[in-house]
Amino acid sequence: MEILNELSLSLQKGNIKAVQELVQQAIDGGIEPRTILDEGLLAGMSVVGEKFKKNEVYVPQVLIAARAMSIGAGMLKPLLADGDATAAGKVCIGTVKGDQHDIGKNLVKMMLEGKGLEVIDLGVNVEPERFVQVAKDEGCQIICMSALLTTTMSVMEDVVKAAEAAGIRDQVKIMVGGAPVTNAYCEKIGADVYTADAASAADAALELLANQ
């Protein structure tokens, strides 16, 4: 539908006013809220994610697109039926204990939300046990964690061990990322997935959920 294409394009530009108007027009035109979300907002974020992976757009453009999506999704939320409002999956995310650097984590969060996932943001400097407790209490299928520093990176292994100790390791996938993190390190500590950038992280999360 033309209006959903327009909505997707406006979101990609981060044009909040246009996104608000188009979402309202789509609602007034009788388009199902779930369709507006999937084919307008999430479709737009998906394009932004792909362009980000290819360095065709940069962090500022991702941030403004995510902001527009959040506002558009907020308009749809009360209209979505219970079943339609269910997210494609639930993720808890944070930077590991000792690490305050959250730009990358915030980007991953936005990209995950852009894929229709529910994200519980634990913030920065998160204790290993807290990742695990929240995943357990909230029924998260994925724990996402990032670290910027070589030293704090080692805490990621503690999170994996804490998930094992809590008996939830087989119920939760663990994703890692951040400047010093590599695929080899991910394998070494027994995490499930490493990705080099935020958009790839969101794709990988969807793939993990599809395979669960």
Binding site: V57, L63, D102, I103, T150, A179
Partner: protein, 350 residues
């Protein structure tokens, strides 16, 4: 601490910065944690930084002595301009930026920054001058680059929103910070230029996969400010070193065009040091070498192999100075730092 017959000669680092290869490869670190220095000096002196002039002399005696005794030709030292920016701290401080709109920008005390800076930090530079060892000079100066200052005042994410919400303010911020910092640099060079042989600031423009701002913003808003400061540095007869972390290949030509003489910082996940040397060594000096992660993790034999490989691939491509790709924070194991230092000094013929 190992003592050698090493005699520092700051001219070596000047040559490397001017892209002239030096036989006794100069060592360079952007920053070494005072905790590391204290351990190697066998005494606590960090708190002296907050004391009176006598304490400061003690601080810089050990601070400079660390670099001399570890085989450096220069002392890396800067005082960040943010100490004179009221309300700054949004860069990494998890506080809201002090400038969020035009009114904040207009009322900001830009015209007081220069005087405030020197009122706060001149005593440190004076103490540095008093304690500078024979044969050595400092590298550094007014810390924080343009992008980092802007982020410190606005916050990165809010700056990204400002880019679309108020593009005029976004533009004006970079130019105002550039104008302000240039004035600080100009006075710095007049008052303390004699103790500095290479000037530098750090301005992390990138992260793991690309730049933090679109390249056109760096070209149009950041680079012109660099050019103004570098003009002042060159007018004072000194080379300029830019420290910038991240994947910044897409703006390197723009940065080189600003007149930088050398560039520092490398991470292996982006590109090993020798790749920077191979790509840009025909035009600028390259500082760096060993990924800080490697310094932390590798055994001495592994470090030896790593360093020997990087050095052998870096010679013959112009001037370079060697050390970690970033810095020596306090989490770097002391024995690894010492091994790195020993290996490089052996390689350069000591």
């Amino acid at each position: 601490m190992a003592m050698t017959q090493f005699e520092p000669n700051y001219e070596n680092l000047v040559k490397a910065a001017r892209n002239i290869e030096v036989k006794r490869i100069p060592l360079y670190e952007h920053y070494v944690s005072p905790k590391v220095m204290e351990t190697l000096r066998g005494t606590n002196f960090e708190d002296c930084y907050h004391g009176d002039d006598r304490d400061l002399d003690n601080y810089f005696h050990h601070y400079c002595g660390f670099y001399r005794d570890m085989g450096y030709d220069t002392v890396s030292y800067e005082e960040v301009v943010s100490v004179a920016l009221p309300g700054a701290g949004a860069l990494g401080g998890h506080i809201k930026g002090v400038i969020q709109n035009r009114a904040d920008f207009e009322k900001y005390p830009w015209d007081q920054v220069c005087d405030t800076y020197f009122a706060k930090v001149s005593r440190y530079f004076e103490a540095l001058r008093r304690q500078m060892p024979a044969g050595m000079k400092a590298i550094g100066g007014v810390g924080y680059g343009i992008f980092e200052c802007v982020q410190d005042l606005v916050g990165y994410e809010d700056l990204c929103y400002m880019r679309v919400d108020d593009p005029e303010l976004y533009h004006d911020l970079f130019f105002k910070v550039g104008e302000t910092n240039r004035a600080v640099w100009k006075r710095f060079l007049q008052e303390f230029g004699d103790i500095y042989c290479v000037c530098r600031f750090g301005d992390d423009l990138g992260f793991k996969s690309t730049t933090l701002l679109p390249p056109e913003d760096i070209r149009d808003l950041v680079a012109p400010q660099y050019r103004g400061i570098i003009e002042e540095v060159h007018r004072a007869g000194k080379p300029f070193l830019l420290h910038s972390c991240g994947h910044i290949f897409n703006v390197m030509e723009d940065l080189i065009a600003t007149g930088i003489d050398a560039k520092h910082s490398n991470e292996d996940q982006i590109a090993p040091f020798y790749e920077w040397v191979e790509r840009y060594g025909d035009r600028i000096g390259n500082f760096g070498g060993i990924d800080t992660d490697a310094v932390c993790r590798l055994s001495e034999p592994e470090l030896n192999e790593y360093i020997t490989n990087v050095v052998s691939r870096s010679v013959g491509h112009g001037g370079f100075a060697f050390g970690s790709g970033n810095s020596i924070p306090d989490y770097v194991p002391i024995e690894n730092f010492l091994a790195m230092n020993r290996i490089i000094r052996t390689l350069r013929g000591e």
